[in-house]
């Protein structure tokens, strides 16, 4: 019987080379552990209400001035701190960009056009959930609009996609494949890429890990920063040991500048990345490098 009785998007496989159930996609990236830092650059419209509550949304009565402006630190000093850090450490990252944020990202053109980094389309804005579109055609128009806007602003096409809050409609994967998207970062079920089959064509699923993100661990679960960073470093060490016995592992770390680039968190975050960048057998990657590998 089919491992997945209610869909045929992809086959089951285990992350165990001694008992593979399907061939895994070769992931020939340097080093044992590839850390994929995904910086989520979001726009939070003051008036927008998502279809249902998602983590990080403005949650006070209109106008939620304090949260709305706090989120904007991600498009100002927060992102500047991160850009300086990435430059200092020369680490490539993925920039997951919501298209409505572009108008406020003009000071960051150098960051967005830096070919060390990959740009991933992050939808229109944080409340523009894929499940809220009236039908497949409306969703397709919205996706096309986001991709077009990013292309116009950046001067190059973007073919990787991360849905706002990872929310899907029944048509999302099909719509993405039909829209020219090649890579999707919405699934949390693996640590290596695999192929998804839709009625409109194939997509490459790159591992995402929402439940390792600062949004989940710090904002939702209210973990202490030092514990969160400690746990992540333990995780990287674990993967290094595991990868040495098996094959490359990817640790995807989504971060949100309005959280992690807050001054009281940023110092410790920077220290952690400096430690990681000096670890033998650990490399930083982005979506483009994973795909190329």
């Amino acid at each position: 019987m089919n491992a997945y009785p209610d869909h045929n998007l992809f086959a089951f496989r285990t992350l165990r080379p001694d008992r593979p159930s399907t061939a895994s996609i070769p992931c020939a990236m340097p080093g044992q552990v590839a850390v994929h830092l995904a910086v989520c650059i979001q726009d939070f419209p003051l008036t927008a209400k998502p279809q249902f509550a998602v983590p990080g949304m403005l949650d006070r009565p209109f106008p939620d001035l304090s949260n709305w402006t706090q989120r904007k630190t991600a498009l100002r000093e927060g992102l500047a701190r991160l850009e300086d850090l990435f430059d200092e450490l020369a680490i490539p990252v993925s920039l997951v960009v919501e298209s409505e944020a572009l108008d406020e990202l003009r000071p960051f053109e150098r960051l967005l056009r830096n070919d060390q980094h990959s740009v991933v389309a992050g939808g229109a804005h944080a409340a523009a959930l894929q499940s809220a579109f009236a039908d497949r055609e409306a969703e397709a128009r919205a996706v096309a609009g986001v991709l077009e806007r990013l292309h116009d602003a950046l001067g190059f096409p973007v073919d990787a996609w991360r849905s706002p809050s990872g929310v899907h409609s029944p048509h999302t994967l099909e719509v993405l494949a039909a829209s020219g998207v090649r890579t999707v970062l919405d699934l949390n079920n693996d640590e290596l890429p695999f192929v998804l089959e839709t009625a409109s064509g194939s997509l490459l699923a790159l591992p995402w890990q929402h439940f390792s993100s600062d949004l989940h661990c710090l904002h939702v679960c209210k973990q202490r920063l030092e514990d969160y960073l400690h746990d992540l470093t333990q995780g990287v060490r674990w993967l290094k040991a595991e990868a040495a016995q098996t094959e490359t592992r990817i640790m995807t770390l989504p971060i949100h500048p309005w959280i992690m680039a807050a001054p009281h968190r940023f110092r410790a975050f920077g220290a952690m990345l400096r430690e990681w960048s000096s670890m033998p057998g650990l490399n930083f990657v982005n979506a483009g490098r994973i795909v190329a590998g």
Partner: protein, 296 residues
């Protein structure tokens, strides 16, 4: 169900004569939840299976991680520490992902019934439907393992008034749904008795980390504090500590090291009986439940 009579009042005298085998004082057992989640499950009148509209790709794919990645990390640690316990098994795993179940069978783990799918709840079932659900799940597991299923934990902790009676009617003799004690407690049903074996909800990784917001480091601290307290108390009265786990969570790199530390902590203590739930039940049935309370 007469809820007032379900649990006998707590009494030191009744429990005192019990000792675990080889004069051990604290029984420890592992309870990994090996679960199957449907992306498009049947609707339930009481509870929605997913918090987001269909398809809830974020939450569904995370559960899938457990069977693709997390469980294999857990198995390596269980092997490393020489431990085997009791699998809280959704029977559908035997059909859809048998290689996962086989890995536990090959290692001599007990399999107990955790319903059919973790997305099919007992809420709202009639007693006949409920018995059919439990019986079917037990049968599927027994066919796979060639061993009788004796233990039960309701899928997604969902209940009706009839659930415990239904479990007993299906041949179950111990359950993990009752959280009243850190010792084994007899449950008096209408015509039978079940044993309630501590599942230790406070140590359930999902409740501690996801619902409770603990970091991995804090989870280790909680486990050690609970373990050390019960170890101290167990000198006077034998205790049980279970460790309920979900591979989609504890198998993630930033949490799996915590499991390694917790298991190492257990293994440092010779006075701990590392066992399976069925051995705990067997010992209690044989040595501690008065014949007039057994009703078996």
């Amino acid at each position: 169900m007469d809820w007032q009579k379900l649990l006998a009042p707590w009494s030191e005298d009744e429990a005192r004569p019990l000792r675990w085998p080889e004069a051990k004082t604290l029984a420890f057992w592992l309870a990994p939840n090996i679960e199957y989640y449907e992306m498009a499950p049947h609707a339930n009148s009481v509870r929605a299976p997913w918090p987001r509209p269909f398809p809830d790709m974020q939450n569904w794919s995370w559960r899938d991680y457990g069977n693709r990645v997390g469980v294999w990390r857990c198995l390596e640690l269980f092997d490393k520490h020489g431990l085997k316990g009791s699998v809280s098994l959704n029977a559908a795993m035997c059909t859809h992902l048998p290689e996962v179940v086989q890995a536990f069978v090959d290692r001599g783990w007990e399999l107990f019934c955790h319903g059919q799918y973790n997305t099919r709840y007992l809420f709202g079932l009639t007693p006949d439907e409920e018995r059919a659900h439990i019986a079917s799940a037990c049968r599927e597991i027994e066919t796979f393992s060639a061993k009788r299923v004796r233990g039960f934990l309701s899928p997604a902790l969902t209940y009706n008034e009839s659930t415990l009676e239904s479990a007993a009617a299906c041949g179950i003799d111990y359950v993990f749904d009752v959280c009243a004690a850190d010792t084994v407690v007899p449950l008096k049903l209408q015509n039978s008795t079940l044993l309630a074996i501590p599942y230790s909800m406070e140590l359930n990784d999902f409740f501690a980390v996801v619902a409770g917001g603990l970091s991995a480091r804090a989870y280790v601290d909680r486990f050690k504090a609970q373990f050390d307290q019960l170890l101290e108390e167990s000198v006077l009265q034998p205790k049980v500590i279970g460790l309920p786990l979900h591979p989609y969570l504890i198998g993630m790199p930033q949490y799996v090291w915590a499991l390694d530390q917790m298991l190492a902590h257990v293994r440092k203590h010779d006075e701990v009986w590392c066992t399976r739930a069925q051995e705990i039940a067997d010992h209690v049935w044989q040595h501690a439940v008065p014949p007039d309370r057994a009703g078996r």
